[in-house]
Symmetry: D3
Subunit: 131 residues, 6 copies
């Protein structure tokens, strides 16, 4: 039920409803997922987080699918169950196929492995890589 429970649309203030409406319009859906309803108890955080997500995930130098898969990759690496479930759904909606998912997971797994081989062997940064 989440720490503070969920703010459902019918009980939401006009301020919260405006964010919910924008989420649904932007995503072309007719529902709002639990994350937003959980943080809506803090309308300032709700609005700031949504505005940030909307700005960051918009098409730019990277396409929305690449961004969504990056979001998923980070969530998998952090092992956040909710985030993995929601961003797997989000990435699929934006076009992630099963083959893309499988390759993405392979990269995330490999990166986590070599990140530790690097630290374990105390590898120094090559001069060529220094900025």
């Amino acid at each position: 039920m989440a720490t503070l429970g969920f703010v459902e649309y019918e009980n939401a203030s006009s301020e919260v409803r405006a964010v919910y409406d924008d989420i649904m319009a932007t995503r072309k859906t007719e529902w709002v997922n639990n994350f937003w309803k959980a943080i809506a108890h803090d309308p300032v955080t709700l609005k700031r987080t949504w505005e940030d997500v909307k700005q960051i995930m918009a098409p730019g130098a990277l396409d929305p699918l690449t961004k969504e898969m990056t979001y998923l990759a980070v969530s998998v690496s952090n092992q956040c169950a909710y985030c993995i479930a929601s961003h797997t759904a989000g990435a699929r909606k934006k076009g992630m196929t099963d083959d893309m998912f499988k390759e993405l997971m392979a990269v995330v797994g490999m990166a986590n492995e070599t990140n530790r081989l690097v630290s374990g062997y105390q590898v120094e940064i090559d001069e060529q890589f220094k900025v």
Copy 2:
């Protein structure tokens, strides 16, 4: 200098040299970076890790640049300094522009933020996201 030091090409066994040669041929470079030279003290790990990386990072359903940026995203999230330096260089070589880098970092930062808002508010997974 790394825990066990580096295995330089001139001192390497033929087994290790074969991996080094394949790394340079695959990457079209004339040098091998410290990571491989550090783990080359364990030729079995060197060979297995390189074969895995080569297989995973090859073009497939995802293009090599997307894979390299995902590798970078995970390394940034894990805060592995060596990995960030080497995969930033790797991604640039594969075509990552400054604008792509900036957007990638924005997504990684945002994902790390909302991963914690989710856990902090103890958000339950929506029925729609369950597999």
Copy 3:
């Protein structure tokens, strides 16, 4: 049921009961939560952990509520579900209001975001911050 199950008061050794009694007396409660009952199979770890927690969480330069909220912040950042549930309850008992909780979560989220922007952009420590 936890890896080794729980040691209930009625089945506990006098050594374990002494710790349970001290936990309940210190916290002014009439029950012991699962964490302690799970590690009680190792009475040495039970006693050491409890003595450490009691010492560290006692009032000092920081008040007990600030300490409990810090404990919660770390648990949220680490995404430890049990710890988040127990320390949210603990912090509320010590006076954390909903508004304090919301602001705490906002800080934890933000810190996790900028921690990654810092690593991703490979920011060097300013001379002014060096110790």
Copy 4:
């Protein structure tokens, strides 16, 4: 030197200067630390991040010192060297004494320890803690 280098005030656009000016005015300092100068290559991220930090770290239900110490606690837990250096300085400026620092570190260490005892023993959430 940071991945993209630093944007110094004298070379900054008016858009970036406006953020730098606000940082210095808000913090009552005459310099801008490397973090902001590193991300200033992305003025949108610079502005968004600063506005977010300013909003989140302002006095509210939690005082600025408690917020700054929470930021430090998370950074320590994540082992982000730059963030630890900068937020230690920030917390001291807001009033953190050595004794407060020591107690804060003790809590962060303890929380990281028990977070793993909990996961290792596979402890179930108590009914009393469920929301």
Copy 5:
């Protein structure tokens, strides 16, 4: 049910069955656990991961029990619930007693605590420890 569901033996390709057969033969069991059945949708990843695990976990300079307990220690530190459950079972099968488990957990907890005291106090590496 896992993101892509499970590939059961009776529906598996001969390529996947060959890996399943080798897992069961190597482990002297008559079943394959969910992890392998979940990633079997990607036969390349299934085969690579199993070959790697088999190579790495084989007896060598370290005995299989020490390796399995190390695997468990890392999984506990990362708080991966599935991995903790499966590697606790695996370690027990290889001879981990309750007393060994308890001491292992104590070390994992302590390491996580001092890792943060080290970062929090910004401790420099001693000359004696440099490689």
Copy 6:
């Protein structure tokens, strides 16, 4: 120089000296490493941490080398540079050979990889593994 600097033996209180003496006697060395000298500004934390480490790392159901390698494995997984340097030295002193080190690193890397494959594929815990 560490946040609060180091407490050298000649400037230490008798309370701190007693801990330093015990560290050197227990480890059969003639010096105290930076970690202890950094936290010695907080004698309570110094004493508690040392007593805990001494108790946990003593021979028991697990031998001291296995414990030290576990400590190293966790530190590598957490990417704590100081801890990796100090516990690599510690493990070698207790008998870790280069071959043992290499195998240990391979296990740590692999565990970090499969921990993420598990979370990414959202694998459910097998009935057989439930406690």
